[in-house]
C-alpha cells in the first residue's frame, strides 16, 4: 500500500491493513479467553440482572400495588422506562438502515454493535408492559386471535394495541436484519477457528454461508430492501409510542407535535447510548483503527442536531400552550417549569438542550472524556424528558381535588436498574460470542479514500 492519502476524504480505516489482518483484529477476541475486565463487568451486570429478576418475581407475585402509583397517576416509571428503552433502540436501526440508504459508508464499523444494542434495548423495554399487565402469562390476550371470551376482539382503535404491533414488528424485523448481516461474519469465524466445538457452533449459526457471489447478489438486494422497510418502520415505532399519549385528552399530552418530537428524541438518546458503549468497547478491544475519532465525531454531530430539534420542540410546546388559549394546557406547562416537579423539568432542559451545545466545538468532540460524560448526561436528560411528559401531565390535570404527587417505591427503582443489568449482560455476551464489527462490510469499504480509489 502506498502512503498517498486522498486530500478530500478521511480514510474509514486509517492504518494500513491486509484483509487477513482486519479479520484478526476483530475476530481474534472471540478465540481468546475472556479478560479480567470482561469477567468483572459481566459479573456485575449479571448480579444486577439477578436482583432485578427477583424484584420482578416479587411484584408479579404480589401485584403492581407494590408500585407508587395512585388513582391520579396511573402511569409513571413503568411507561417512562418503556419509552426510554425503546427510544435508545432507535439509533441502531437508524445507523443500519437510514445510513445504508444514504450510502454513509462510515456506518459499517458501528452498525453491528448498534443493532445489537437496538435488540437488547427493545427487550428491556418489553419488560415494563409485561409486568404492568399484572398477569404476564396472559399477555397473549393482546393478540387478536379468535377466542372464547365472547367473541370480543382486541380494540384496534387503541394506541396501546398499535404499540403491540409496532414493537413486535420492530423487534422481529430488527432481529432478522441483524442476523442476515451476521451470516458472512459467522461463516468467517467458522472457517478460521481451530477449535472443533466453535467450528460446530458457528457452522450451525452461519447457515452454510460460503461467500458465493450469487448469494452475495441477493444478500445485497435483501439488505437494501430491509433498510427501505426498516426506515419507515423505525419512524413509525416512536410515532406510535407517542400516540399512546397524543391520542388522549390530557393537557400536555394531546398535541400533534409528539410524533416528530419523540422520534428526534429517540435518535438523540440512541446515539448517546451507542457512544457510551463504543467509547469503552473500542478502547478495551483495541478497535480504535475501525471505530475511529471520525465516527465519534460524526455521532456527536448527530447528537447536536437531534438535541436542537428536541430543544425546538420544547420551545414550540411552550409557545403553543400559550398561543392555544387553553387554560389547562397553559397551566400544565407553567406547572412543569415551576411546579413541584420543576427540578425534573430543568434537569431535562440542561441535559438535553444545553449540554449538547458543547459539541459545536471540534475540541470537545475529540475529547473522549467529554464525549463519554456528555453521552451519559444526554441519556439522563432523555429519561427525565419522559418522566416530565408523563408524570407532570398526569399529576395535575383538570380537577384540583384530584391532584396528587408521585414518588417511586424501591420496587420500581430496582426493576429499572435491573433492566440495565439485562442490557449490559446481553451486551457483554454479545461482544464475546459474536463479531462486534461487521468484518465483511469493513473490508468492502477499506479501500475508500486510499490512493488508487
Amino acid at each position: 500500500m502506498s502512503d498517498v492519502v486522498s486530500e478530500l476524504r478521511q480514510r474509514l480505516v486509517p492504518e494500513d491493513r491486509t484483509y487477513k489482518q482486519i479479520s484478526e483484529d476483530i475476530l481474534d477476541t472471540l478465540e481468546e479467553a475472556p479478560s479480567k475486565g470482561w469477567l468483572i463487568g459481566f459479573s456485575i451486570s449479571a448480579l444486577i440482572l439477578t436482583i432485578g429478576f427477583l424484584t420482578v418475581a416479587y411484584q408479579v407475585g404480589t401485584g403492581i400495588g407494590t408500585w407508587g402509583l395512585n388513582k391520579t397517576i396511573g402511569w409513571s416509571w413503568d411507561i417512562t422506562n418503556f419509552v426510554f428503552w425503546v427510544g435508545i433502540g432507535h439509533a441502531g436501526t437508524l445507523i443500519s438502515a437510514v445510513l445504508l440508504i444514504f450510502r454513509q459508508r462510515w456506518r459499517t464499523a458501528i452498525n453491528r454493535a448498534a443493532e445489537a444494542m437496538t435488540i437488547f434495548a427493545v427487550a428491556c423495554a418489553g419488560i415494563f408492559p409485561l409486568i404492568h399487565a399484572g398477569r404476564p402469562w396472559l399477555l397473549y390476550w393482546v393478540f387478536p386471535y379468535p377466542n372464547t371470551h365472547g367473541s370480543l376482539w382486541t380494540n384496534f382503535r387503541s394506541p396501546l394495541l398499535w404499540d403491540v404491533f409496532a414493537i413486535s414488528t420492530y423487534l422481529t424485523v430488527s432481529l432478522v436484519f441483524w442476523y442476515m448481516g451476521l451470516l458472512p461474519d459467522l461463516a468467517s469465524v467458522r472457517d478460521r477457528t481451530k477449535s472443533s466445538i466453535r467450528k460446530l457452533i458457528y457452522g450451525l449459526l452461519s447457515f452454510g454461508w460460503n461467500g458465493s457471489n450469487r448469494t452475495w447478489h441477493h444478500w445485497e438486494v435483501m439488505s437494501l430492501v430491509l433498510a427501505g422497510l426498516a426506515t419507515p418502520l423505525v419512524l413509525s415505532v416512536h410515532t406510535i409510542v407517542s400516540m399512546d399519549f397524543a391520542t388522549s385528552v390530557i393537557p400536555g399530552w394531546h398535541t400533534t407535535i409528539f410524533p416528530p418530537y419523540f422520534v428526534a428524541g429517540a435518535i438523540f438518546s440512541g446515539f448517546a447510548m451507542v457512544i457510551t458503549l463504543l467509547v469503552i468497547t473500542r478502547k478495551v478491544l483495541n478497535w480504535e483503527n475501525y471505530i475511529t475519532m471520525g465516527h465519534i465525531d460524526a455521532m456527536c454531530k448527530v447528537i447536536l442536531v437531534t438535541g436542537m430539534i428536541v430543544g425546538l420542540a420544547y420551545g414550540t410546546e411552550f409557545f403553543i400552550a400559550w398561543y392555544s388559549g387553553n387554560e389547562y394546557e397553559r397551566y400544565c406547562f407553567i406547572n412543569r417549569a415551576t411546579g413541584p416537579y420543576w427540578w425534573a423539568y430543568w434537569s431535562m432542559i440542561s441535559c438535553n438542550v444545553i449540554s449538547p451545545q458543547f459539541f459545536w466545538f471540534k475540541k470537545m468532540r475529540n475529547n473522549l472524556v467529554v464525549v463519554f460524560i456528555l453521552s451519559i448526561v444526554v441519556n439522563i436528560g432523555m429519561w427525565f424528558e419522559r418522566f416530565v411528559i408523563i408524570t407532570t401531565s398526569l399529576h395535575r390535570d383538570f380537577l384540583p381535588s384530584s391532584w396528587s404527587m408521585y414518588s417511586p417505591t424501591w420496587v420500581e427503582i430496582v426493576t429499572f436498574i435491573g433492566t440495565f443489568g439485562l442490557f449490559f449482560t446481553l451486551f457483554f455476551i454479545f461482544i464475546r460470542v459474536l463479531p462486534g464489527i461487521a468484518v465483511a462490510e469493513v473490508k468492502s469499504v477499506y479501500k475508500f479514500a486510499r490512493h488508487d480509489h
Partner: protein
C-alpha cells in the same frame, strides 16, 4: 457428490474483477466466484440477473396490507361491532398504524425467508468450500472443468495476477 472445478485464486478484488470481465469477453463460463465481501461489478461480469427479491417484498407487503385492513374491518365492523358514541364502525384512520406495521412485517420476513430458501441457507448446512480462506482474504473464481478448457483459464487468470490456477476436486454435498 464430488466434482472437478478449475479454481483461480486471487488476493485482490480488483485483479479478480478485471479478469472476470476478460473471461466474459472470451466466453469462459464462470460457475461462481467466492469472495469475503460483495465485490461490486462482479454481477455484471458474471451476467447475474437482477434479484427477484423485491417482487417477493412487494407481493408479501400487499398481502399484509390487505390482510390487516380487511381483518380490522371485519372484526370491528362486521363480526362484533361496538357502538362508541355513534362513531363509524369502519374508523379507518385508526386502522392505519396496524395496517402499516403488518405490511412491513409480512414484507420483511417474506423477503428474508425467500432469500434463505432460494440460496438454500439453513442452520446446520455444510458449506461448499473451494478455498479455506474464501471467507477471509481470498477471492476464488470457480469454473466447471467439463465446460472450460484448463489451459485457456490458466493463461487468462494467470496473466491477470491470480496467485494460483488449479484443478480441484470439490465435495458438492459436504
Amino acid at each position: 457428490m464430488k466434482k472437478d472445478f478449475i479454481v483461480a485464486i486471487f488476493d485482490d478484488e480488483e485483479k479478480l474483477l478485471k479478469s472476470a470481465f476478460k473471461a466474459r469477453d472470451k466466453n469462459i463460463d464462470i460457475y461462481d466466484v467466492y469472495t469475503p465481501f460483495p465485490v461490486h461489478g462482479l454481477d455484471d461480469a458474471m451476467g447475474i440477473k437482477r434479484s427477484f427479491l423485491p417482487y417477493v417484498t412487494f407481493g408479501a407487503g400487499a398481502t399484509g396490507l390487505l390482510f390487516a385492513a380487511s381483518y380490522q374491518v371485519w372484526t370491528m365492523a362486521i363480526d362484533w361491532p361496538i357502538n362508541v358514541g355513534g362513531k363509524p364502525f369502519i374508523s379507518w384512520p385508526a386502522f392505519l398504524p396496524i395496517t402499516f406495521e403488518l405490511t412491513v412485517l409480512f414484507a420483511a420476513h417474506s423477503t428474508v425467508l425467500a432469500f434463505l430458501v432460494y440460496n438454500k441457507l439453513f442452520p446446520g448446512k455444510s458449506p461448499v468450500i473451494m478455498h479455506p480462506e474464501q471467507t477471509c482474504n481470498k477471492f476464488v473464481v470457480a469454473m466447471d472443468k467439463d465446460k472450460v478448457n484448463f489451459e485457456d483459464a490458466k493463461a487468462l487468470f494467470g496473466e491477470h495476477g491470480a496467485l494460483e490456477v488449479k484443478i480441484q476436486n470439490v465435495d458438492m454435498n459436504p
